[in-house]
């Protein structure tokens, strides 16, 4: 609970209908998409503009009230699970696209803008905002920046951090900070923009984001290759990269996932195949034609049973529908789905795929693996029922072993889902204690009252 006087002050800032304190509403802001225990906040506020946002933060600073900012609550690491004594700041009403500058190819947006809406608005102008996290139909730019969200196009186009040119945000005391710029180059001051991306609301509260846009590719070619062994598929991934080709997307589906997708969507996938590669090259039409040919030859050389090029948009859509159905299809099998994203250097994909299969067997759990093979970011997806305590314990052990395996290969605990609460206890394994200490000191200096999304990333 927060004192009545503070509730009143919050209400004065945002208006009565934009302050929520009833227990029912608090329950609806107690979770996100991560498989973690819910925590109900004391209040939720929905500011409409910069002034209101700044006033809320100053008030919270003055009264030592923790703040957790929430966009659409779709992150998979518990980044938006609040504190009992804290408030949730919702960005739903701060969802304006302030500017799309065609001449200088950037966009300025508020944090609550939905990723897919921005992507479609810029597309209308022949421009392209490439980061496409799986939740982009609902996720917000603020959340994407805070979590450094990735997506299917990471291999060629990078992730959210590669598109953030500048930011405006409030620090923990309510001061307004500007960082970065609208220019392609900017060499002044610290690279605070870089520090803020992926900071999960622990260093400041975003107010505006300047995003880089690029010209939309003129042509694209999608194809699907079918393999009898997963080794052949993963060797193909390594082969394509070493042939110096960067497909826009290079996705893998293992047999478990193929069967689930086929049972679910009857898309005509070969259920006996050990793996599928879904590949798309894009760019200048001449280059696309040449690369598509090269990729096809490589797939054959590596032993693909068949490879089919999409001949039109409908066929292309069918290929990507199969990929998009992967998570849905797996989700239908059991009540609880744990979507992991431990990531390895891409040359280690064959090793990682093998290791995941062994871990599934060792702990006797169902793991469907699909994901962004081209950038080393697989999604081992564990299917379980959280109510089955014994099995869930095995799941937790398996997850820890997946982490260890990825780190032993020179990888990372999270390619794109963020640290949040879920991975905070394991971060030391990856980065070492002094790195955690450095991060904690940084936080303590910038947020002495520890009000900005406490508990995330650094564990305190």
């Amino acid at each position: 609970m927060i004192p009545r006087s503070i509730q009143d002050a919050l209400q004065k800032i945002v208006g009565p209908q934009h302050l929520l304190t009833q227990k029912e509403d608090m329950l609806t802001y107690s979770y996100d998409a991560a498989v973690l225990d819910p925590v109900m906040p004391a209040a939720a506020v929905i500011p409409e503009n910069t002034t209101q946002l700044g006033e809320i933060i100053a008030l919270c600073h003055e009264n030592h009230i923790p703040i957790t900012v929430r966009g659409s609550g779709t992150n998979l690491s518990g980044g938006t699970i609040p504190q009992t004594s804290g408030i949730v700041v919702l960005t739903g009403r701060m969802n304006r696209i302030i500017e799309i500058n065609e001449a200088d190819m950037y966009a300025v947006v508020e944090p609550g803008v939905v990723t897919a809406i921005l992507a479609s608005e810029v597309e209308k102008l022949g421009l392209f905002y490439p980061p496409d996290p799986g939740s982009m139909a609902v996720s917000t730019i603020g959340g994407n920046v805070a979590e450094n969200a990735g997506g299917l196009r990471g291999l060629k186009y990078g992730v959210t951090k590669d598109y953030v040119m500048g930011l405006q945000f409030f620090d923990a005391t309510g001061n307004y900070i500007k960082t970065g710029s609208r220019t392609v180059k900017c060499a002044t001051g610290y690279n605070i923009t870089g520090l803020m991306v992926g900071s999960e609301g622990t260093l400041g509260v975003l107010d505006q984001v300047i995003l880089k846009l690029i010209p939309a590719p003129k042509a694209r070619q999608a194809m699907v290759a079918v393999y009898d062994t997963i080794e052949q598929a993963s060797e193909t991934v390594a082969g394509i990269i070493s042939a110096r080709i960067l497909p826009a997307t290079l996705e893998i589906l293992d047999n478990f996932t193929i069967r689930a997708v086929e049972d679910f969507s009857k898309a005509g996938l070969p259920k006996d195949a050990a793996a599928l590669l879904l590949i798309e090259v894009d760019g200048h039409p001449a280059v696309v034609a040449e690369e598509a040919e090269q990729v096809e030859a490589l797939c054959r050389k590596m032993g693909a049973r068949t490879i089919d090029q999409a001949e039109n948009d409908a066929q292309r859509d069918r290929i990507w529908a199969a990929r998009r159905a992967a998570l849905s299809a797996l989700a239908q099998l059991k009540p609880t789905l744990v979507l992991e994203d431990a990531t390895v250097p891409r040359s280690r994909i064959p090793d990682m795929v093998r290791a995941l299969q062994e871990i599934g067997k060792k702990y006797n759990i169902d793991i469907g693996t699909f994901g962004h093979a081209g950038d080393g970011n697989l999604h081992p997806t564990i299917l379980t029922d959280r109510r089955n305590k014994e099995e869930f314990h095995r799941v937790e052990q398996a997850i820890e072993e997946i982490f260890d395996t990825a780190l032993a290969m020179g990888g990372t605990l999270s390619g794109e889902h963020g640290t949040g609460i879920a991975k905070a206890p394991f971060l030391e394994k990856e980065a070492g204690y002094s790195s955690i200490l450095f991060s904690r000191q940084l936080r303590a200096a910038l947020d002495p009252r520890n009000i900005l999304n406490p508990g995330k990333i650094t564990g305190v």
């Binding site: 929520l20 009833q22 227990k23 029912e24 509403d25 329950l27 609806t28 802001y29 107690s30 979770y31 996100d32 998409a33 819910p38 929905i46 659409s72 609550g73 779709t74 919702l90 739903g92 009403r93 969802n95 939905v114 897919a116 939740s135 139909a137 609902v138 998570l327 849905s328 989700a331 239908q332 009540p335 609880t336 789905l337 029922d385 109510r387």
Partner: protein
Amino acid sequence: MAGMKELANLVKELEEQLVTCIRCGMCQSVCPLFEQTRKEADVARGKLALLTGLMDNIFTDPDGVNERLNRCLLCGSCAANCPSGVNVVEIFIKARAILAEYKGLSPAKKLIFRQLLANPGRFDALVEWAGRFQGLFTKPSADAQGTSCARLISPLLANRHFMPLSTTPFHKTLPEKGVTSTGSRLRAAFFTGCLIDKIFPNVAKASLKVLSHHKVGVVIPPGQGCCGIPALASGDRDSFTRLVDHNLAVFEKEPFDVLVTACATCTSTIKKLWPTVYKNPSDDIRQKLTALAEKTMDINQFLVDKVGIEPLDTLLIKGSEKEIVTYHDPCHLKKSLGVADQPRQVIMAAGCKLKEMAGSDKCCGMGGSFNIYHYDLSSTIGKIKEENIEKTGCTTVSTGCPACMMQISDMLGKAGSSIKVRHPMEIYASRLKKNTP
């Protein structure tokens, strides 16, 4: 009021369905209500969490959850797009019933559902009388949609442009013992539905004309009742169950191959809710409900998939410059039953030019009683639909659901639009008339 623990136990009935929500939040991208309010309690994920909260007995009273649960159009957009296939509409319907049974229905609802709706004869008589007297309180609004508005300022009607009750409901135009005709091929039973019977009898007449044109035998048993969805949406499972019993008996008397309706909501209710929400069915009833659900079809789907239609030779129609029609997908047809292509084929077969609107499958905001309790929100959502319709430059908007027809008529009427609202059967049948003098 019994203890919250007892309520928690009742909600446990839904546990296996509730746990399938993985909290991914994808429902936020399609929920017409969330688009307006952006509040988590307004979207399926939030409501499912609230029901889980009731089951875990964390609340001191059920009112807060009940109120939020009722802020829902039951359009099923979330369910149709749910990655883990959560059966959201069924869960919400059952939860409303559990809560209503626990809290007790309001006296007004008790009167309406138990005394009227669940007694089809009494309901028909009352509505007929109301139809005769409605002119005292309302006046026609001289618009292309044929709506009425309040004569006097009325808080209940506000500034609605509502469809007046027909002076002669459809069932009154039929012989007292109903209709039984033999065609040369399939035999279809026709489930009229309240809105078509009492507000849009022309849709039923058009449907019959189309069926007979295609030589389909028709059975229309007398004494049909409501499909039960209004009672169910308010959690009155008893009245719903009584209505289902009544209708089952009514439709048992004559044999038929297919049960067709021209109302998306009735079709979806019979197919999806009769077999799943009926209270404690015996094995016999369960079998009957499943068998009937399998035989039930939207009339457009029946015409296209079972009967087979060819484009009408509209060139023969004198002065038949192509009418531009846009089609609105009723949630209960497209999202609930996957019927989207067939009504369009019917419209095109009638020689009309089909022009798609943006967001044709976006909910119109009607949501049955949602429109009554949350008229402002319902209108805001409806306004988006109205604008999308207007942008097509069409002369007629068509849709396969009388409830959507009411909402769209209200929205177009308020906007002063000259666009007509027609059921695909009305469009198709009107071309038949010209074709076969």
